[in-house]
């Protein structure tokens, strides 16, 4: 079954196994069937629930408008799949082409798609993490537990980490009239993903909505009472904060431990794969029959210097899953590269935040439309004289335009007039990202490493 020549045979009666039953796994499975795959399809997921959508968990669900188990994903088509839900994959036999499951079953495959995603980074000390009142938010079950606790009207919620998830949790709590403290190690919320200039706007939003935002601070310990209930947190400035709920929002860990020793290039930064979603083995040689998609993948992107991008983005999971499934069922020349331009959104404090491109690559930004002070603007980010990203606060309609600028390596600063250009938008300023060597909950885009150039893509020379 290995090799491109057998793509047709695989499509007719091969064995496809998808590990990961969330957004990427579901969309890949559907795309396999759409592509005429009539072989056997097994979908394996460690959670006992059918595929569900995660973005609503920190928004509609925490606001109490939607039940935590009410975000199941719609189905584009019947899958005719064998589902193994509630059973984690625990190992991969690359040579024998088998996936081992936690219950001892071994599932053989001809082609495998790995979409095991991420999990919430737990609090550093297990005993403190186990205190009643300490939560993470990644799964539907997490959201149900946290939602119930918020229903009980805690006196103060402490959110540790002001990335997107932490900020959205804080927003939902304020909207529910709960007292919230946000403790952020960096100088501002969202600073790892969007830089200090835009982070300052996010900070202003939080404070205006009554969040007790404390930046440049870490939580050094969580303390419980005799009954094991969270009582207070100790902060790095020497103060103590009374709180009965703490939400740990320190980013995500990639679910790759089950691949340890398998021979795949899998580790804490994800599973390396080529632009066609084929996994690399530990020698850096691309595999023929192992594909990767979604949050757990890291793949080179021609638009961004062939750096390996790991994207914890909804849209990336969908796009990469579709490319992976396409390539699983295609012979070599028909395979497609995953060239999706990174994009994500967040809704917090009543503001719609959207981004395209890779802001973390942008050393400078210019506010091309609107005004930071009004919390309604578009900022274009520049890298080596080209537009590399754009971030919009309540200006979503313009982002397609900026996406095309990024795709065409348009010059930065933009040399055209824009609607609603203000004096502050006449000159680029430093985007003010923190030193990446310092620990933080991190950007939603991480960049590392290089791959050999893919020669089918047209280069636009960088402007200096």
């Amino acid at each position: 079954m290995a090799g491109d020549g057998s793509a047709e045979a695989f499509r007719r009666n091969g064995r496809a196994v998808v590990v990961g039953a969330s957004l990427a796994g579901l969309r890949a499975a559907e795309t396999l069937r759409e592509r005429g795959f009539t072989g056997s399809l097994t979908v394996i997921g460690d959670e006992p629930h059918e595929p569900y959508d995660r973005p609503p968990l920190s928004k509609q669900v925490l606001l109490g408008r939607v039940p935590a188990d009410g975000t199941a994903l719609p189905r584009r088509r019947a899958l005719d799949a064998r589902w193994r839900l509630g059973v984690a994959a625990t190992g991969l036999d690359l040579a024998g082409k088998r996936v081992r499951l936690a219950d001892g079953e071994e599932v053989g495959f001809d082609r495998l798609l790995i979409a095991t995603g991420t999990r919430a980074r737990p609090w550093v000390r297990e005993a403190e993490a186990d205190l009643d009142g300490v939560f993470t938010l990644r799964t539907g079950d997490d959201a149900a537990r946290l939602g119930r606790r918020l229903d009980a009207r805690p006196r103060r919620v402490l959110v540790i980490g002001a990335g997107f998830t932490g900020s959205e949790v804080a927003s939902a709590c304020r909207e529910r009239g709960l007292e919230v403290t946000v403790a952020e190690r960096g100088p501002a919320p969202l600073v790892g993903a969007l830089g200090g200039v835009v982070g300052a706007v996010a900070a202003e939003l939080q404070r205006r909505h009554g969040v007790d935002l404390r930046c440049g601070i870490t939580v050094t310990a969580l303390e419980g009472d005799a009954a094991g209930r969270l009582r207070c947190a100790h902060l790095s400035d020497g103060t103590t904060l009374d709180a009965d709920v703490a939400v740990i929002a320190l980013g995500a860990l990639r679910n790759t431990e089950w691949l340890t020793g398998s021979g795949l290039a899998a580790g804490p930064r994800g599973i390396a794969c080529d632009a066609g979603c084929r996994a690399f083995d530990i020698h850096g040689i691309v595999t023929d029959d192992i594909f990767v998609a979604g949050d757990v993948a890291r793949s080179p992107h021609p638009l961004f210097g062939y750096q390996f991008l790991s994207l914890e983005h909804w849209g990336n999971a969908v796009a990469q899953a579709e490319i992976a499934a396409h390539n699983m069922t295609s012979a070599g020349p028909d395979r497609r590269p995953h060239l999706w331009v990174p994009a994500f959104w967040s809704a917090q404090f009543g503001v719609n935040i959207k981004s395209v491109g890779v802001p973390t690559m942008g050393g400078e930004l210019v506010v091309t439309q609107g005004s930071l002070g009004e919390h309604r603007f578009v900022a274009a980010y520049g890298h080596q004289g080209r537009v590399i990203a754009a971030v919009a606060f309540d200006q979503a309609r313009w982002l397609d335009f900026y996406c095309r600028l990024i795709e065409s390596a348009a010059p930065f600063p933009p040399d055209f007039a824009t609607v609603d250009r203000r004096p502050e938008g006449m000159r680029p300023v430093a985007a003010d990202f923190p030193d990446p060597a310092l620990p933080s909950h991190g950007p939603t885009v991480t960049l590392s490493g290089y791959s050999p150039s893919e020669r089918r893509v047209t280069f636009t020379p960088a402007r200096f």
């Binding site: 056997s40 064998r82 839900l85 909804w314 959104w345």
Partner: protein, 76 residues
């Protein structure tokens, strides 16, 4: 009926919030909140909202299949 909105695509035109106000609501100027699962009474409104979306960002169930109901499924 299950649904999901591709919020990368959504540009806050709010057509859905007019056509199916019990399912889609604007949250601030342009952020959208919606119910990912709706009862049969909402089906027609939701279908109209999906059809009217200028950027076609609303994805609806094409089949009612659930994991446990898929052919060849087994416990787990």
């Amino acid at each position: 009926m299950r649904l999901v909105v591709d919020l990368n695509r959504c540009q806050g035109y709010a057509q859905c919030a007019y056509l199916a106000p019990d399912v889609f609501t604007m949250h601030g100027e342009e952020a959208l909140l919606y119910s990912p699962q709706v009862g049969e009474t909402q089906r027609e409104n939701v279908m109209r909202a999906a059809a009217a979306c200028p950027v076609q960002a609303i994805l609806l169930d094409q089949v009612e299949e659930r994991a446990a109901e898929g052919a060849g499924s087994r416990g787990g």
